[in-house]
Each structure stands twice: as structure tokens, then as C-alpha cells.
Subunit: 350 residues, 3 copies
């Protein structure tokens, strides 16, 4: 029997099927340091254990996106090893902080299947859940992926397309137990701008640029234990459409989030990712810039210390973000656009 | 008196001499995270502290090869700084797991000396031992190295060539105290294939490819505190035969081991390295692939939970491992071959 | 109100002003491992927790220069984001060791201001202090930076140029509480040469070379949370004088210190930086070499176990340090010279 795992093909998935993902992963201060060195993050609660404790957490939590990438990475060998394309994310909620010493495990349930009209591939919809060692859920999200069939002649499963919420509603956002925004020190956090200071529709140019290197994105993607070959195998890449290794899209989200510190330093926690699109691929040598737009402002029930901002953060490559490059009226993206992310953050109030 | 250490030359070694290597090294979760980011390792016991504890260890151990590289690296300044070539390894046994918080020290005894017929260099055979802070041995191995003489006119020492076992016998393998393979969860470990499922002579193509970058191998080799100049000094390399910095051979072993997860996910611990050959040099930009062959299957005395597999893992560069590139009948290696490693792993039984 | 922080310009600084720098930073074993992997450090107390405890410290301390870079990095967004040039350092004293688990914060006081004759920029002198979570000072230094004006028409502040000591006097050096050099094991430390063995004026070629990569210096500089754009943004660099990203000068100091192990292995702690000059910029691809000169030898009051050496360490690029490349009689630096650092170390005595 073949010992090598070649991943699941479209016809291997069953509606309702639960896949427990190998291998659980204990996270440590080493992961946090590497993530910082790879992205340049400076958000206060992750940077300072003292500040995290002063605001009700038990220690400096791991960066929310590092948790996302670890859980996502776990799902790759069973869900998307044979993916033609990652089509989208939805309904991603961050449920509890993860601390050094925790062990993350992940599982995915198949919630939808739809064969393409050509019949050689199909869309697989999964809901992925990340848990802590005590079973506590820390993160869930839905994603859908176009997966090749092993054999186009194999019969198609019944089509089932799940309903996907366009965003995580304000009342479904989770504020981590204990976390509060009282007595927030704007000198130490890096910005005087709190929730009240952001206006609907406001646009922010995050100004700084960051050039990506092969060693950096490879180290990041391995840290996430994401095994997608396109990020690591130049021989494969040389035969492909771009001739180059692709940077893992999630790492671009991380870089955009780190760049957004300059303008959103008090966006101390990601509560949800509503949706996101990798508009174009990114390669080593590209320089990233980012800008953000405030889509919605929500108060949180019973909380005067924290509010929520729904943001859209866009990343562009090899040009600055000034002028806020975006889609045009016909919906055609600016040629420099690589990421269009819709997400919700928590921010201290005055 | 010259303050710079220029390393030992062939005529500096004495048969029976014991060299205590500077500097002891405390290992941490930071080392484990970096090793993971550099190699992409996913073996269950190293990835999950929960799983390690469930199988009788006190925590997630450091990767066996990370321990090997740290002990090996310690020996470089005194043993192989003036080496022309690393000729071989033998009789390498992994004696006890190493955990974050342990401090490793290393020492080597000269067990053989043989001047070459040209008289300008000689082979030094050493047995190297790595210990924990409490004196407990964690690793030993023999290696032999061709070392330059400071002055070809210096007299040759008496020749003494030690007997080197062709492999570590099954009865000499050490199962770490407490470690057991009972109730092994093949869903979490990443493969359904256990010891019983591997057949003598079976070949496994590990499928995935990994391209190496200068920053990656340099960071790895510095993490191992290995000071061999050929890995770091491009000015020196530019004057040399290849014009490029050489990747530390041990790092290639690590990459091959990490790639072997796909096909050998339940090879949870390396018990011995029987021998190994770096068939050709590897450079940044090369893409590695690996395949393995099952050489022997051994039960272990008194254990029904774990068995041993003696494996041969071969790494090739810039071509896939399909077709199992190997030596030809005349013993000439395939031009893509870079590593031929003979080692023994422990694997849970049914 | 603009949310992006564009940093302070010359006319924003006030004499006597105190700037508390965001964001405090908890340091961990992950930072120590990364620093080791990036620099190759091998000094005994940082490498071995056992040795650190045997010599009176509570654990393996973070490398002194890592602490320097973290405190320096904190000051960049408010002090030198709009710097034309970093002109110098003085009076830098290392006051207490920093251990994994500590949280560093930093603040700077403006101690001098001097507008240039052209009127479009000015020199800002600051004294920066790094503290531990309990308020204990761990490091202070002065630096002066040439900073652009936002508007050359803005009025100049009154000129105040502080007096800067040419060096930290022997009586002002701090030996960390508990640290002692008794029973120093020269086999484990990597060198038989102790304080008594170094002669005034002695020169040491540190021999080894180290080639820098983009991914390495970027990861290091992000680890230090230093946000200066010139190190990360190739688009900006392409428009600049060199066309390339600049390596953070402090990282060159770290590389020179790590190289100096070969010749100064027993220089176990940096007590002071008296001054330093980045003679020329360094880029990825450059290979660094270093040499040192003994400027002064000091006994320390009441201590027979430790002495101090005032050293000058010079780094050159793309040529070896043999022949001790230096300034010529007219003060013109050797074209290969990139760093000229004057600092003071503690070393065990016989």
C-alpha cells in the first residue's frame, strides 16, 4: 500500500464528513518571537506581557493571525493539497486567546460540494475549528477551495452549496474573557487614536513598505506547518505559470496587519474575518504597502471600554498606497492590488 | 601569544586524547521553533507536548537531529576546523531525549589516527559524546575526518585505525525511558501506516520538494553553533572549487528527515545512525527531494508497542525522487544524489 | 485627523522633553534563540544557563547587544524616523542583565538641539534609558541624530550642545549584582586567554568571515522592532543613493561582536560603549571580517576576579582583516572599513 499521502481529491470528500487534522501543535514563546521577526508586529498586548496582564489577560497572547495560520496550515494536507485555487474565507471568528504552552488541534467538516461544469474538479466547502488542549474552541472559519478530481470520470456528488454570511455580526463577536480596555495608555500603545476617533469611510495610508524574501516566507509557512508545495518547490514552480514560488496568501495578510500598526495601533485584537480575496499572487522581491478603510463602527453590548471597527485593509505591491489603489467602477482591481481583506477589530474607547 | 584559535591540525591530535568542547549550550523552545521553521518538521512527539506526555515523555522533546547538530557543532572548532573532508559517521546512538531547559555539553576522544601517503594530511577518528547538565549521556557517535597538517615535515603519529561497526545492532538501540507506543492515534500522527505495514525492500517516494536559501542554511548552521567557514564566508567560497557557500551536510540530513514525514510519519524517533555519505555538495537554490528504502525490520526485546525499522534515506537535488535515483551497478551514484543515509527509527506497532 | 504617525521633525523636539516610547517588549527564550541564529554568538554566559548560574547570575542573560538593539529600536519611531544620519553614540552603560521573561520599556530625554547652518535640518541629542518591568534601569546611552525639518521656514530652537564624555570611566562601569569570574573554566569558555594575557596595543585578527543576507538583517531588525524604512523597503531604496536596502548599523555591531569570540571568548559581558562610528554602509551580500585592538586595561575596585578591557573593534567588508585595515595618518579610513567601535568588556582574571 502506498505510504505517501497524496491528499484528498474532489471525489474523496463526503458531505458532513469530519476530518481530524494531524498533527496537533504546541505553541511557544519561540513561535511568537519568530512571528515577530518575520512580520514586525508591534501591537501592545502581544508585545508586552505586562500590558496584557494589566488588561485582563493571563500573558501575552500569540498574534491572532499566527493562530489562524496554524489552524489553517493543519487543514492543508487533507483539504487543499490538490487545490487549484483557494476561493474564499467567511465567518471566521476568534473565540479565545492562545498562549505559549497551549496545544492547538484542528478539524474540518465538509459543509458543501459542487462539481464544476467541466467535471474535472469541484468546490469543497469546509468549516474548520481550532481547539486548545482542553477542548476549548479558539477559532473557527469557513473556506472554499477548488479541488481537482483524481479521475474526471468519477461520479459527481450531489450539489450542496452552504449559505455563507457576508459578515460576522456585531452581536456574534467574542471579547476574550477578562480582556478590558480601561486605562488604556496611548503613549505606550503607539497611537493616541481610539475607537471614537475613527470615522465611517475614513481611509488610512499605512505608509511603510516591506520587501519580501524567499527565506522569510518559507520560514513563516513552515512555522505554520502549511505543506502546500507551491510555496517551497522551485522545480515545480519553474514548470508553472509564474516560474516562481508563490508566497502563502495568509502571510500577506500578516504583513498587511503588521503594516497597519501605523494608523491602527490600538486595534488590539482581531475579532473576526468577514471575507477576503487574494487579488493577485505575491512573490519574493515584491514590496508590500497597505491602506485601510473604516467600513463600520459598532458598540459592543454592555461594554463602554471597547468598541469594534469593521475594516477593509488592502495591500498593494511595488507601489505606495497613496491615492488608495482599489477596484475601479467596473470592479476591475488596480494592477498593484494583491489583497482585499474585510475584518473586524476590537479597540479601546475613551 | 596569538589569541585567535586556528583549530587543531593533524599533528596536534594524540591517540586517546580527550577534548572537552566549548561552549555548553542551553536549549529552549526558541531552538525548537526555529528548527521547525527551518526544516518543516511535523513528527507528532516533537510537535505536540500533549502527545509526548500521553506517550510517556515529560514534554515535547527536541528533534533528534537538532540534538545531533548541536553536539556535532560543538566538536567542529577542535576537530574539523582544518578538515579537507568529512569522511564518515558510524555507531551513532540516541540515548535519551533532550528537552527545552536542558544544557548540552560535548566531548570527543581521539580513537584513531592515520597519516595519508602524501604526508600533508591525515585521518582523525573521534568518538563524540553529548551529555545533559546532570551528566547523563544523550548521544554518541564516531566520525572520521581528513585533516590538514600544519607542516608536512612534522613526524607522523603511529597509525591506529579503529574497528567501526557497520551498524548499530537491534539489541543496542535505546528506547527512551517511559516512551511507549500504545494507543497510538494514527489520525493525529498523520499516517495510518505502522511498523507491521512496512515490507523489507519497500521503497517510498516522499514526493515533496524543498528549495534551500542562503539565509536558511546559515541561520540553521549558526543555531547549531557550527563554525565551519565554508558555510558562511562567500569571500572564501569565491576562491574555492565551487564558488559558492556549501550547505552544512547535517542540514541536508534534517531536510531529508522532514521530507520523509510524507510516508514515514510514524517514525517517531531516530534511535541510531548507522552510517551516511554526503555524495555531493548542496548549495542555496537547490531543491531537495527524498526517498527511502526499508533495509531491516526488528522487533525490540520485551516490547510489543514499538518496533524498529532500519532505513536508507536518499536525497537528490533538482530532480524528483520518482524512479528512486540511486547508485548504478558499478556503484556510481546518480548525478542528482546528494545524501545516502543509513539509520534506524522507532515506530509504533499495531 | 491623520492616523499615520510620520515621526518627529527637528522643530518638534523641545529641550528637556521626555518621550516615553511605545511599545514595551517582553523578551523570551525565543528572542535569544533567534539572535543566536542570526549572529552566531557563543559567549559562555549567554550560551549556558548552567555556566551563568555557576557565575552568580540567575539564568542565561540575553546578549547585551540584543538588549541595546531592543531599547534603541523602541526609540526609532519618535527620535530618528526622519533622520538624515545617525551621527554618534556616547556614554552607553549596561546596568543590569536582562533575562527571558523581563519586559523592557524605553524613554528618551532631549538633551541638546542645534540647527544646521542650511536651516533645513538639525542635530537632536537624546539620552535614552531602558528599564525592566520593575523600573530597574538596564541600559542608558546618548545618541545624536541629524533630523530633517518639516518646514525650513520654521524658527530654530535655541542651540544647546551637551557635553559628551569621551568614554565611560572605569569607576562608572557596573558589574551585575552576583556576577563573578572565580573558577572560570577556560576549556568550556573557548579560550585560555584571560585579562592578564592581553597587552595594551595588542591587535587581534578575528579571522572568520560572515556573509550577510537580506532575510537575515530584515529578520534581525524586525526582531528589534526597529522601524527605520531604509532597512525594509526596496522601492524606497531603489530611489535612493545606493539602490539597495541598508543593513541596520547595530546589526553590524552584533556581527562584529560575534566574530570577536575568536580571540576574545572570555569577554563575557559588555559594560560600556564609549563611542562608535559606522564608517560606511553595509548591504546584503557583503562579507564581514573584524579585528580588535586593546586600548586600555583596568582593574575594578575591590575585585580580583574580573577586570575590564577597553577595546576598539573594527569591521571591514569583502576583504579579510589581516593587516589590520584602519584609518591612515590623515584620518582617511581604509575603503573596506564599515565599523569603528570603542567599548569596554569585563573579563575573568587569573
Amino acid at each position: 500500500m502506498a505510504k505517501t499521502d497524496s491528499g484528498n481529491f474532489f471525489e474523496d470528500f463526503l458531505l458532513g464528513q469530519l476530518l481530524r487534522h494531524p498533527t496537533p501543535r504546541s505553541v511557544t514563546e519561540g513561535d511568537a518571537a519568530l512571528y515577530l521577526a518575520l512580520t514586525g508586529g508591534r501591537f501592545l498586548l502581544e508585545s508586552s506581557a505586562e500590558a496584557a496582564r494589566a488588561h485582563g489577560l493571563k500573558a501575552a497572547p500569540l498574534d491572532d493571525l499566527l493562530v489562524f495560520h496554524l489552524v489553517f496550515g493543519k487543514s492543508v494536507p487533507q483539504i487543499s493539497l490538490n487545490a487549484v485555487a483557494n476561493l474564499g474565507y467567511a465567518d471566521c471568528r476568534f473565540l479565545a486567546p492562545v498562549y505559549p504552552g497551549d496545544t492547538l488541534s484542528a478539524e474540518s467538516r465538509v459543509i458543501g460540494l459542487k462539481q464544476t461544469s467541466r467535471g474535472d474538479s469541484g468546490i469543497v466547502y469546509v468549516e474548520t475549528l481550532g481547539r486548545r488542549q482542553d477542548g476549548e474552541p479558539v477559532l473557527n472559519f469557513k473556506r472554499w477551495v477548488l479541488v481537482r478530481k483524481r479521475d474526471p470520470e468519477n461520479p459527481a456528488p450531489e450539489t450542496m452549496v452552504p449559505e455563507l454570511a457576508p459578515l460576522v455580526a456585531a452581536e456574534d463577536l467574542v471579547v476574550p474573557r477578562g480582556l478590558h480596555g480601561r486605562n488604556w495608555d496611548v503613549e505606550l500603545s503607539g497611537s493616541p487614536h481610539l475607537w471614537e476617533d475613527y470615522a465611517l469611510g475614513e481611509r488610512i495610508d499605512h505608509s511603510d513598505g516591506m520587501t519580501l524574501e524567499e527565506a522569510e516566507h518559507q520560514m513563516a509557512t513552515r512555522l505554520y506547518q502549511n505543506t502546500a508545495k507551491v510555496h517551497f518547490d522551485q522545480l515545480l514552480a519553474s514548470e508553472g505559470r509564474f516560474g516562481k514560488r508563490l508566497v502563502y496568501g495568509g502571510h500577506i495578510i500578516s504583513m498587511a496587519r503588521a503594516l497597519s500598526f501605523n494608523g491602527l495601533a490600538n486595534a488590539i485584537r482581531i475579532a473576526a474575518i468577514n471575507g477576503g480575496r487574494h487579488v493577485a499572487p505575491t512573490f519574493a522581491g515584491d514590496t508590500l504597502f497597505a491602506w485601510s478603510e473604516v467600513l463600520e463602527k459598532w458598540t459592543l453590548p454592555g461594554r463602554s471600554d471597547l468598541g469594534a471597527l469593521r475594516l477593509r485593509t488592502l495591500a498593494v505591491k511595488n507601489r505606495r498606497a497613496e491615492g488608495f489603489p482599489d477596484k475601479d467602477e467596473a470592479g476591475r482591481p488596480d494592477p498593484a492590488l494583491v489583497l482585499d481583506l474585510d475584518y473586524t477589530v476590537l479597540m479601546p474607547r475613551r
